[in-house]
Assembly symmetry: D5
Homo-oligomer: 163 residues x 10
C-alpha cells in the first residue's frame, strides 16, 4: 500500500548502508511496490533484488537505471553512488543475529550444519556448495495447518583443488 | 565402500558427542552404508538421519532399534545412551564455523539474511520461518557446467503473537 | 506525573531506535501516562505495548493511529516511519546486559536454563517453548516482606519436525 | 519408563558437573522417575529439583539423603561430594546458548528485556526483580491449537539503596 | 579550584551519558566543588552522588532540584531529562576496563572473587551479597608509607530461595 | 561439621588448580575447619588464606608447613607442589563471572567503577588504588532486616610516575 | 569509465578513513582511472597504491603530489592530511571479515596456516616471513576454464634472534 | 636429519588432530624426510601435502597408501582413520593466531585485504578468488640481503551469480 | 618540517580523544616540532609527553601552559578541557591491536610474558613490576645492519601484601 | 634452594606445553638452579632461556644437550620432543592476561602503545620495531624507595617495503 510520506530512519541495518539505499527503500514504500514487482521490471528474482537493495549485490548500470526509473528516482543520483565504481562490501548486521527471523537461519547452521556437510560429502565428494555461484529463492507454500516458507539454495558444487 | 577397520577419532565434532555416536559412525563406515540407505531402513530422510547421528535430533525408541539393527550394534547399547531419557543438546561446533562447507552456510546468513527477512515479511507478514517445524532436504542437480547442490528449508511460518 | 518539558536523550537504548520512538516516549512522559493506560486505549497488554515502544513489536496501522492520538502526536508522523512498510529489527542492547534489571533475566538463563529445558522435555517431549507465539505478563504481588514481581511467559509448545 | 541400563555420557552439560550428578541423572532414568516424583519425595518443586540436579542449587543434608534414598544411591556417596562443604558454582553452558530451548529464553531477554525493565520501573520504582529470592514454575496449559508452556518467575522486588 | 571556562568533551564515558550529565560535570568544575560538597547539600554520600552523576543512580525530584540549585543550573533543565520519567540504564564503559583505576577493581574479582565467595558462604550460607541493597564508601587513610584507599561495600546478604 | 568422606570433584574452579589444592579443600572439609580457624593457626586473615587455597596467593614455606600440619597432610607433599619454586598464576574463572556471588562483585565495577575512580582522583590525585598492596576483609554485620556483608579493600594509593 | 558525478558514501571501509581518502577514491572514479594507471604515474605497483588509498601505506611527499596532480586534487589539500606528519594506523575492517572476498584470504590462514608455517620452517629454519619487508602482487592468469587470480607475497625471511 | 626416537607431544595443533596424524609427523621426523620428499613420492606439492598432514586436505586411498609406505606405517592403520569415510574438518588453531608466523599471514588480511579486494574487482569484476579451487606454493628466493619467501595463491576467479 | 596547513582527521585514535588533543597534534605538525622538542620545553621525556598528547597522562596546569605557549595555542583553551578537573581515561585503541607497530608490543606479551614473569619472580619474589610507577624510554641505537629501537620500562617492584 | 621432590602440576601454563617442559621445570627446581645459572651453562641470557623453557624459543641440538646435562635429564629424552623436528608454536596464555604480572605488560600496550608508535615513527620513519630480531633483558636496579625492574627490548627497526 503506497504511503507518500514513508521514511526509513537511519538505524540498523539502514545506517550501515549508503544514504541512497534508504532512498530506494523509501521510494519503494512510497510507491507501494513489492520487491517482486520491482524485480520483474528488471528481469530478476525478488531475493536477488532485495539483496541488492541491502547492498549485498551489484546492479549493472542498466539494471540500476531501470530500478531508478521504476521508483521515480533520477538514475544519475543512483549511479553516482552505486554505479560502476561501486563494489558491494558484503556482510551486514551483528553475529549472532539478534533478530529472530535471521537468527533462525543462523540456528540452522548450528543444528543442521554438520548434517548438511556430511550429506554433501557423501553425494558429491570433498568440496563445498558455492555461496558465490548460488541462487536463493523463497516461495509461499499454502498449508491448512499454517503456510510454509520454502527457502531454496541452488549452489554449484566446487571440488577441492589438489596440486 | 565398506572398510571393516574404519574408526572415528575423538576429535571435533565427534569429541563433543557421546561415544555411542562415534560408534554409529564407525559401524556405518564399516558396513559401507550411506545415510540414505540407513534412512530408508527407518523411513526417514537422509538429512534428518545425519542430524540424528550428530546428536541434533532425537530417535524414537523404535527408530533407534532399527538403526542399530541395520548397523549391527546391539540395540540395548544404543538405547542405554540415546534412549527415552536422552534429550539432544543441540548446536555443535564453533561459530563462526571454521570448516569451509559450514562457513558457506553461515555466509548465506551474512549476505542474504536481510533480503530473506524482507521477502518473508513482504510475503507473510510479521513473523518468522520456524526452524523447529522445518524440514531440510539436499538434492544433487546434474549440470554440465558442474553439478549443483539443491538445499531446501521447508519451514512453517509463525506469526508474532500480540496480546 | 506529567512533565510538559520531559525529553528523552539520544543515549542507549533510545539511540538505537528511530527518532519517532523517542518522541513516543517523550509524549508519554509529558502526558504523564503509564504503559498500561496507553495499552488500554488500544486494547493491548502493557508489556506488549512497551515492547512496541522499544521497536520490538509491530503496531497495526489502526493501533498506531490510536496510540498517536492518545499521545497527541500526528498519526501521519508515526505512520510515515512505523507504518506498514516498517518491520521491527528485533533484539536491542548489549549481551550480556549491563543493566542489573535486564541482567537478572539473563542470569535466569544461566542458572535455570538447563532445569527449564529438562522440565519442558519431561512434560512435553522433544520441542521448544515458542518465543514467537508467546505472551509476556507482569503483575505486582503485594507481600508484607516486600512486594514481588510475577513475570509470566505463556508460550506455545512446538514439537520438533521429523522427516 | 524405567531403563535399567540407562547411562549419561560425559558430554555437556554433564561434563561440567561432578560425576555424582551424572549418577543422579542415571539413577533417575533407570528408575523411570520424573523430576516431579522425586521433588514430591522431598517436598520441593520440580524446577528447583532439576536445578539442584544440574548443580545450580544446594541440597540440605536432609534433602540429599531423601533424594539418594529415592534413587537408590548410598546417601554417603552423594553427601561426600554435594554435602555441607559443597557450594554450587552457578551458571552453566555457553552464552549465547546453542540449544534452541535455552536460546528462546535468551531471546526473551533480547526482545522483551527493555519492556520488562520499563514495566518493573513503572510499577515498582527504581530497583530490580531478585533472581535470588525468586521461584520458577512450569505448568502445562492444554490448548486445542497446541499445548502451551506457562513459565513463571516469582521474584522479590528489591529497591536500590541510596546512602 | 573553580575554572569558569571548564568544559567536558564528548568522549567516553561522557559520550555515553545524556548531554545534561556533561553539564552537571562542567558546572561542578566551574564552581570548583567536590562531590562531597555537593553530596552534603543534599544529604547523601559522595560515592552515591558521583554514581548519580555518571547516570548510575536515580535522583529524586527533590534531590535533583537541590543539586541543580547548588550548581547554578535551572532545575527544570535537569528535571526534563533526569526527572521522574527517567530510569538509569546502568553499567557503563568497556569490559574488561581499560583504565587502570577501574581495572584494579576488575582484577580484585579475578584474584579474590573465589575467596570472597567462599568466605561469604562459610559465614552466611548459600546466598549472595546484594549489589542493589549495598552502600559503597571511600575513605582516605593517611599512612607514612603512602596514604591508603579504604573502599567498603556494605551489602545485604540474600539467601537463595528454595521452593 | 567434619565429614570424613568429603571429596572435591575435578570441576571448575578446582579443575584449574593443582590436585594438591583439591586435597587441601578436602582435608579442610573432612576436619570440619573454617578458613578462619586455619588462618588463625598461621597468623593470617581468612580472606588471604582462602585466596591462597584458590592458588591466588603464595604461602611461605613456614606457612604451608603449618597449614599442612593443621590439616593433617604431610608437609612435604604440599611443599613439593606449592613450595618455593611455585608461583601463583593468578586470575581464575570465566569473565564475566557466571556465578551470581562473583557476578555481583563484577557488577560493582560496571555500576560504581566510574564513581569510585572519580572519588579516588578527587581525594588522592592522578593515580590508582593498588590491588597488590591491598588487604581484603569480610565481616558479618548483624541487622534485624537481614545480616549484612561488610567487604573492605584497604589498598595503597599509587601516584602516576611522570618523567 | 569516467563518471563525473561519482561519489563515495561514508560507510565502511570509507568511514574509517580520513575524508581526504574518500576524495581520492571519488576523483579516481570521476576520471575513470584504474589503480594501475595511477600507480604507473608515480612508479609504483597497483596493490601498493591501493593499500595507500586505503590508508595502509604512507605516500612520500613527492608521491602524494603526483597522485594529487593525476587526480586533479590540489596537492596542498592531500598533503595537509596525509603529508609528512601523518602516519598510517594500519589494520581496517572487522575480523573475521564479513566480505566474501576478504574472508577467503582469512580462510587461507585457517586452512593453510599451519602448512605454510611448517614449510617455511623446513626451508628456512626458525623464523618468519616478514609482512613489513613484503611485496604483494596480483596478476590475471587467463584460463579457458575460468581466469585465475595469482596473488603473490614476496617477503623477507627473518630468523629469530637468540641472545 | 633422522631421529629414531622423535615424538610429537599432544599439544596444539597436534592435540586437535586424530592420533594417526601425530604418528605421520613422528614417522616423518624419524625417517628424517622433508614434506617435499614425501610429496614427490605421491606426485603432489609440499604445501598440499603438509596441509593434508594437518588434516586440512583429503588423501585419496592411493595417496595415503603411498604416504604410509614411504613412512613405514601400515597402510591399513592410516586408512582406518583417514580413509574414504573420513572428511577433513578444516580450520585449526585460534584466531587471531598467536604464533608469529601464522599471525603475519593474518596481518596481511588486516593490512592488504581491502587493497587486494579492490584490485580483484578492478581486474575481474564482481566476484571472489576461490580458496577451494586454489593452489598454494612456497619458494625460497635467495637474496644477498636475506633470503625471501615467495608465497603464491593461484585461485580461480568466481563471478557472483545473478538470478 | 613545518606544514602550516597540517590537519588531523577525526579517525582513530584521534576520534577517541577530546577535540583539543587533535588541536595539539595539529599545532605540533604546523610548527614542525618533535615530541622531544616540546618535552624539553617543559622538562619532561618525549615518551611521557606523547602519552599525554594521546590522553594517557595528566599535565599539571603549569606544564599545559608551557605546552600551549610552545605550540601557540591559548593556554585557557587547553586548560578548559585538560585542566585540573580533567582526569585521563586511560587505555585507547582495539585489542588485539591492528596496527603492526602496536601489535609487536602485544606480541611481546604473548611470546615473552611468561618468561618475564618467571624472571621477575626469581629475582624479586612474589610481586609485580608496577606500570604506574614506571618510566618508559625509547632510544635509537645505530647499527650498520640496521638501526635498533631500545625500549626500556623502568618500573618499581611491588611485593604482594599478605595480611 | 633445591627441593628434591619438587613437582610441576599440569595446570596452565604448563598444561599447554609438552610434558618434557614440565620435566625441565621440575629438574630446575629439584636442583635449585636459577634461569641465570642454566643460561650461563649454555652461553645465553636468562630471559631467552626462560622463553625456551616455556616453549617460546627453539634450542639448538647442542644447547638442549647442555641444558639436559645441567639438569640431569637424559639428552635423548629432551631431543626426542624438542629436537630438530620440533618448532615452537609461540604465544601462550589467555588474552587479556589474568595474571597481574603479565597484565601489567599488556597494560603498557593499552596506555603507552600509541605514544611508543608515535616516537618510533618520529625517530625512525614508517616501520616497526621487530619482535623477531629483538632481545629482551631484565635487570634489578636497587633503589632505597623500593627496587626497580629494568625491562629492555632491543629490537631492529624494519622500514616498510614500498613496491
Amino acid at each position: 500500500m503506497p504511503d507518500a510520506s514513508a521514511t526509513v530512519p537511519a538505524v540498523p541495518p539502514y545506517s550501515d548502508l549508503p544514504p541512497i539505499s534508504a532512498k530506494l527503500f523509501e521510494a519503494k514504500a512510497r510507491k507501494g511496490l513489492t520487491f517482486d514487482q520491482i524485480a520483474t521490471a528488471i528481469g530478476k528474482d525478488e531475493v536477488w533484488l532485495a539483496a541488492a537493495f541491502y547492498g549485498q549485490a551489484k546492479f549493472s548500470e542498466d539494471e540500476l537505471k531501470k530500478v531508478s526509473e521504476t521508483l521515480g528516482i533520477p538514475a544519475q543520483e543512483s549511479l553516482s553512488v552505486l554505479g560502476e565504481h561501486w563494489w558491494p562490501h558484503r556482510g551486514i548486521g551483528p553475529m549472532p543475529p539478534t533478530d529472530p527471523v535471521i537468527y533462525r537461519l543462523y540456528e540452522s547452521v548450528l543444528v543442521y550444519g554438520h548434517a548438511i556437510k556430511a550429506i554433501i560429502h557423501e553425494k558429491f565428494g570433498d568440496g563445498i556448495m558455492s555461496m558465490i555461484d548460488c541462487k536463493v529463492k523463497i516461495e509461499k507454500k499454502p498449508d491448512p495447518k499454517g503456510d510454509r516458507v520454502l527457502l531454496t539454495f541452488d549452489g554449484k558444487f566446487l571440488p577441492y583443488a589438489k596440486w
